[in-house]
């Protein structure tokens, strides 16, 4: 893990991903987490294809990436208390991800109350100027 880019609060990035079997199954790598922000990368894999004619990744795999990244951002907010669960998540699919390219999600917790973390995210392939998808979600703030 990259110590410089993480908060190193009570959990290392490695431990965070290790705690999520589904994120591990999809080969996700947490490359940044801290201060209410997170970045996760997911490599292209033929098993994740949703459209056999084009080889484009299934929206469900993008959803899993977005959900994990938004949750990681919410947990890393200084005012967060620990665990989080998704209340709702909306994903807008702007364009198909280019087959063969790694998808990178970046999430930001832009507001947090004692009960709710509000998070938005973008997913990009190699052409970062043209996002593949955006997401907005609300997450629980547990404890206290």
């Amino acid at each position: 893990m990259d110590k410089d880019e993480t908060t190193g609060r009570d959990m290392t990035t490695q431990q965070f991903m290790g705690m999520l079997p589904h994120a591990r199954a999809l080969g996700m790598r947490l490359t940044l987490q801290g201060g209410g922000k997170a970045r996760i990368e997911m490599d292209y894999d033929a098993r994740f294809v949703g459209d056999p004619e084009t080889g484009v990744i299934h929206g469900g795999a993008i959803s899993a990436l977005m959900d994990t990244c938004c949750g990681a951002a919410a947990m890393s907010h200084p005012a967060a208390t620990g665990r989080t669960a998704t209340i709702d998540l909306r994903i807008d699919y702007m364009r198909p991800a280019t087959p063969g390219q790694t998808i990178r999600a970046e999430a930001e917790c832009y507001h947090i109350t004692r009960s709710v973390a509000f998070v938005r995210a973008r997913a990009m392939d190699d052409d970062a100027d043209l996002p593949v998808a955006t997401a907005t979600g609300a997450f629980t703030v547990e404890g206290t």
């Binding site: 079997p21 589904h22 929206g59 469900g60 795999a61 959803s63 994990t68 669960a85 998540l89 807008d92």
Partner: protein, 170 residues
């Protein structure tokens, strides 16, 4: 002129099951998540068998929100495609024998998808059904509900909008 008798039930079943299988088997991500479809007439129920790789939080343990979202989206897309395919096959416009790799119907594209997490997904099998609320020439709106032990207590629901594939001759 005598009316032709009804088709033998096995012929009808075989035709419908083969078409559904071709549609579902064409999508690698459905197999990756281990999702299957149970058909009763034209109604489909999706089944996601419990597997350790679907877990998000091993301490609770609970299904990963991403696995739940994907399960709902798969159910919506297959439900929507199946409703189109059903009409094409039953009207005789499409011969299910032709549903092979490279000749599968184009799938609808997700425009947006909103998932509502109602309670935590338990480490056991999950079921889902899609309802096509509107299916126009270009756009469709689909609602999906997923439940586990109790049909009346869904653990997640979603609404999605889809761009319909262009149909032959249209």
């Amino acid at each position: 002129m005598p009316r032709p008798g009804p088709e033998p039930v096995q012929v009808v079943k075989q035709r419908r099951d083969a078409a559904l299988k071709a549609l579902v088997d064409g999508v690698p991500y459905i197999a990756f998540l281990g999702v299957e479809f149970d058909r009763r007439g034209d109604e489909l129920t999706a089944l996601m068998r419990y597997d350790e790789k679907l877990i998000g939080n091993p301490l609770l343990p609970a299904l990963h929100g991403g696995a739940t979202a994907a399960f709902l989206e798969i159910t919506a897309i297959i439900g929507l495609s199946w409703s189109m395919l059903w009409e094409e096959i039953e009207s005789g416009r499409r011969d299910p024998e032709t549903l092979t790799r490279g000749h599968l119907p184009r799938l609808p594209k997700t425009i947006d998808f909103t998932v509502d997490y109602l309670r935590s997904g338990l480490p056991r099998d999950a079921y889902a059904r899609a309802q096509v609320n509107r299916s126009g020439r270009r756009y469709a709106s689909v609602h999906v509900e997923a439940w586990q032990d109790n049909r009346a207590r869904p653990f997640a629901q979603a609404t999605g909008h889809f761009l319909m594939p262009r149909r032959d001759g249209g």
